[in-house]
Amino acid sequence: MANTAIDVSDVTFRYPGVDDPILENADLRIERGEFIAILGGNGSGKTTLCKTFNGLVPNFFEGDFDGRVRVAGQNTRDASVADLSRDVGYVFQEFENQLVTPTVYDEMTFGPVNYGQDDYRERALNTLSQLDIETVDGRFIWELSGGQQHLVALGAALTMDPDILVVDEPAAQLDPVRAHKTYERLQTLNENGITIVTIEHHTEFIAEYCDTVALVADGTVKWKRPTHEGLNRIEELREHRIQPPQVTQVARKIEKGGSLPTTYADAINRYRSFEHETGQIDDHEIAREQSRDEPIISFRHVDHGYTTLRDGDVQVLEDFSLDLFPDERIALVGANGAGKSTLLRLITGIEKPNAGRITINETDTEDVLPEKLAADITYVDQNPEDMFIQDSVRGDISYYLRERDAADVEERVDEVIEFLDLEQLQDRDGRLLSVGEQRRASLGIGLATDPSIVLFDEPTGSLDLASRREVEQTINRAENRVETVIIATHDLELVAEWATRVIVLNDGAVETDGTLRDVFPNLDLLERCNLRAPQVVRLSDDLDISPPAMTVSELADRLSRRSPELKGVN
């Protein structure tokens, strides 16, 4: 037992006032020094399971609790959350709300001071330098970017020298390069002896960094296995709404059995020996024919920035020009802070350029209120929850029409609701829906205005497979009704499956602009912009497959076509 860090046995838990238990007979054992991923779809109970590790369940959340959890040999029921937290550090998914003090330094010393530790200063400073964020120690939390805030939350947990660190969805809001850095950091901590538990549904990260993986579904731990073995159970993962890594999906299509590669390195080794041959380009990614005459949205020499307390005026866009045409599927891609959201907000007219002109359908955004522009443009927020301002989905969808005293509101709303299959959800409060449903409902809100342009800001953030599918369908449906769809994202898998035009933003400037085929093969450029092409694109590059495959099925086709010997070998 001495080597067991966490021992959950037969735990059942029900939140007060809810009929079904969120955890049911869950068993899990985590050894000291393990780096384990808790894998599961949205709402599977994985977060609740992890909250039993530091006693939040059942000591903080009152509810019906059965079973036993031992952490570092201690029964969590007999210890307080505060005491357990000295051993178990916890970084919440909503880490922004976990930061409770005004400045970074205060946040770092908060824990040690609470526990009365004399060396609180050294602990804070050591942790700051360990995470390479010494320079921000005097900053206000609200001044920091999301990524920096996440680091501070992580650091604050580390100042307590925990034996176990639980991190809930560390990569959810980060661009791919930053997400990998976060995982590398966790790996270093793990090498220094800390047991790491991450809650994650991006199997790519799990494959690269974690020793073991536990699948949580329907409130119970289905199994815990070494990562490679666990991620090979593709059908089971899919059944529980988990997307396996792209390399594994490709292998599944071309290999009938045996052990499939899960990491990128495995996949390269496996397929390197295959002979090279030029494939045919699938036609759907080729840019559509455009009538390049009248842009629907046009930026002309736009300067835009904002004022900060510390650094005065910061320019986000400088002398920025760009034309967007109707009937394009436009993906604005870029790292966190590259200026994607600023661009979208300028299009909505909520923000105005400091210099230059932005025209929408030949209307200068300077000349009209955003309320007017909204008749043509729908903005679907990064966080769909922010779109709900009424107490029912139906109320939200009809809000715009009622405001404008539109004729036959009810029929138009009915029509949108039917179009998006929202009948079941229309009377529910938007805030209380699942994330995927929220996305769908938020599009309904947008479509009710009959817009010609729809803007999606980061539509796939923090979604499991099923919810992602729902979003992709939603975007496709939107396309049938409007002229132009623009997506701002750093999710390049989504872009690969959908876009006809890819605009890469870096530091507020257009780094490159072209078709999917033009942009994606340029791996160095993407890397420079803190982006990372999907595994299949990189794999194509490393295997010298030209032109590179964009999707899993494409690469699978290409590989199986190229390598008849493979089937023979296996």
């Binding site: 919440f92 922004e96 005004p102 001071v113 904002y306 309320e371």
Partner: protein, 271 residues
Amino acid sequence: MSYQEEFRNALSIESLKQDLLRTAYDNEGTIFNRLDPRVLLTWYAAFLVIPWLFYDMRILGGLLTFVSVLAVVSRVSKYLIALLAFGVITNVLLYAFVTVLMGGSFVQSAMALVPYTTKLTIISVTSIAVFSGMSPKNISRAFMSIGIPRQFTFAISYGYRMLPVLIEEYHETVNVYRLRSRAPESPGRFKWRYYVYLIRLSIRAFYPMIFDVAKRSRVTVEALETRGFSHSLENDKSRELQLGDLRVGQFDVLFMGGSLIVIVGIILPFV
């Protein structure tokens, strides 16, 4: 300036936000922030009393000048000072005016009110100067040192943490409403339509905010538990560490001494 433009500027929460943030967050390095908060509280308590000891308008005027200088030095928001001045002057005038309606004398009642109002003004200016010059961290430590429970002093630093976040969130919510609402076609007489529209949006925007803050509060209190907050409440050592680096230094002595000299200088010639 077009209606649109005017409307937009008035709605520019952005500039208001900047002003607010500067008031709340730009107080590093002000005199009051360099003082030991306990010394400052004592000084403040003294200033709640001193004006009441004198009736001579010359002394009161001198004291008002002194605290106003301090207010300027500690970078008090001009907006607040303007508001205060406006309040004080209209207060005296209105009382005097209504006195006339009641059959009294304008001058007589104004004269009776002026010393009283001046004293109140001295205290208000002092309060504003001290509390906007002192960082909330020091304010909460000052309160903690006089025995106010940590739950309440924590509320101050938590408010300090959250104010810009909540205002930003609120601003976003107002924007969401704007993108879905209809602005008045014309501003109307005295722009009343525009004001009604603005107020209607401001009120409605609170509804989504309530849900947002509810979720935040829940996570925050959970997080407080995991950070040993409740542990610190019974822990003397923790309290000691939080107040440990408070000490009265040379600057504090200089400030107290200096204030004393100035005040004596103001009072002596007239008694």
